[in-house]
Amino acid sequence: MGHVLSSKEGMKLAMKGFMILLIVTLVEVAIALLGNGHIGGMHWPKMLMIPVMCILSLYKAYYIVSIFMHLGSETKGMAASIVLPVALLFWAIIAFLWEGDTWNSRRNGVKSDASKVGQSIQQDNMIQNINELPNEIRWS
């Protein structure tokens, strides 16, 4: 567990943690605002912004768990008993996002099949000319 910090040392650690979390959060927000054109009118590629923001968030999570929650100072066995099960989630994330993508392509496949047999279909995701808007949209 390490030694007990004095009030002064504790305050120093707390301020350092505060600054790190604050700065990383502000960087994330800055990326979102700049990259989406709210400030400066630039549009950065999403495929670059999203991984960067994910990595910054993971860093924040690591910092909170390791320093604020002291898991970094616990015994190796204890840290492993908590971190290893969480690591399983990485596969869960990949698998379920993959699954969601499959739902999307299946649904769009059904729609394009419907168009082949002559039924009218709507592209739900498109901005449409106002005269072509469907009367009812189903988000199934």
Partner: protein, 364 residues
Amino acid sequence: MAHDTAIDVENKEHDGHKQEVKSDVWQGGESPFKSSYGKLMMWYFLLSDAFTFAGFLIAYGALRFSMDAWPVPDHVFSTAPFGLENSPLIFVTFMTFVLIVSSVTVLRAVQEGKLENQGGVVKWLVITILGGAVFLGCQAWEWTKLIAGEGTTIYNNPFSSQLEEGSYITFERAKELNEQNGMGLVEKTMTVNVHTDNGHTTEELSYLAKPNPKFVSAEATPNEVEYTQLYFEKIDHHYFHRHGNDAGKTYVGDADKGSFKVKDPYLIAYHEGNYFPGAYEVDNQLKGEPMGPKSFGTLFFFITGFHGFHVFSGLIILLVIAVNSWSGFYGSRKNGYEMVEKVGLYWHFVDLVWVFVFLVFYLI
């Protein structure tokens, strides 16, 4: 096991130190993780809670991937108090800031607890409680804006995936575009009953309607069947409860239910404080988008609500522990201020979850 222990004890007598350690471990009384039972179990509770949140967030990801269109968070969460309209992310950044501060103050409380400094523990716990309360208040404000102002509920999501090249327009601009491009939309007014907190009133509501003969049916009166699409200026969520007298009842509401048929194409547009559902402008053309995926509202309110519930229960626990610390209860306890450490773990976890909620709902 008993047999092994017996052998170990025997070996201890013969072989000395190495065997002695082994036998003591198996006889208990020594914690291999060098942590107390309470803290370890708090960690395992947090682990299981992390899986619950991960389940929710992964469901969010899977559903979002399965949709062609998803609301752009910068447009959904762009209101802030003190008249700040169109300021995406500002308010939620403030909420995140508050949560970071309260996470740091609870860290200070834990540190003071290890020093057995009662006054310090109580002081930092009280600041933490204030921070948590401010966060919950902000969340309540945000939910109120989303539900009552924008009309996003667990059943309904007016935000579609506003595409980048489009810009939201006002009702007046829509009328201009209509004339300019000869779109044939007709401006009409209707008297509507508005349900407000102070009772019912009526007001005149302007709208644009698109004439279409396709929907003529036997039982319909001429007024009801002339227009396939109606575009209203959205004022507030009471929009959904308006009864139309002049407009086609099929589109404004069923007489018995008195509610707007939310599946009709319509888009909330807000620009400089003006709303116009059903339209925005792309290259001088009035374009529209249908309603966005319902699962957005459902997921947002369930996940942020579940997180808010954690904040709330954390506040109650913090309050109890602050009172106990203040009364000197922990000072006389054998394990000292360990309860402060445990609630500290819980409170840091709440902050940890918010890191990911913030990432997936607001940033991406």
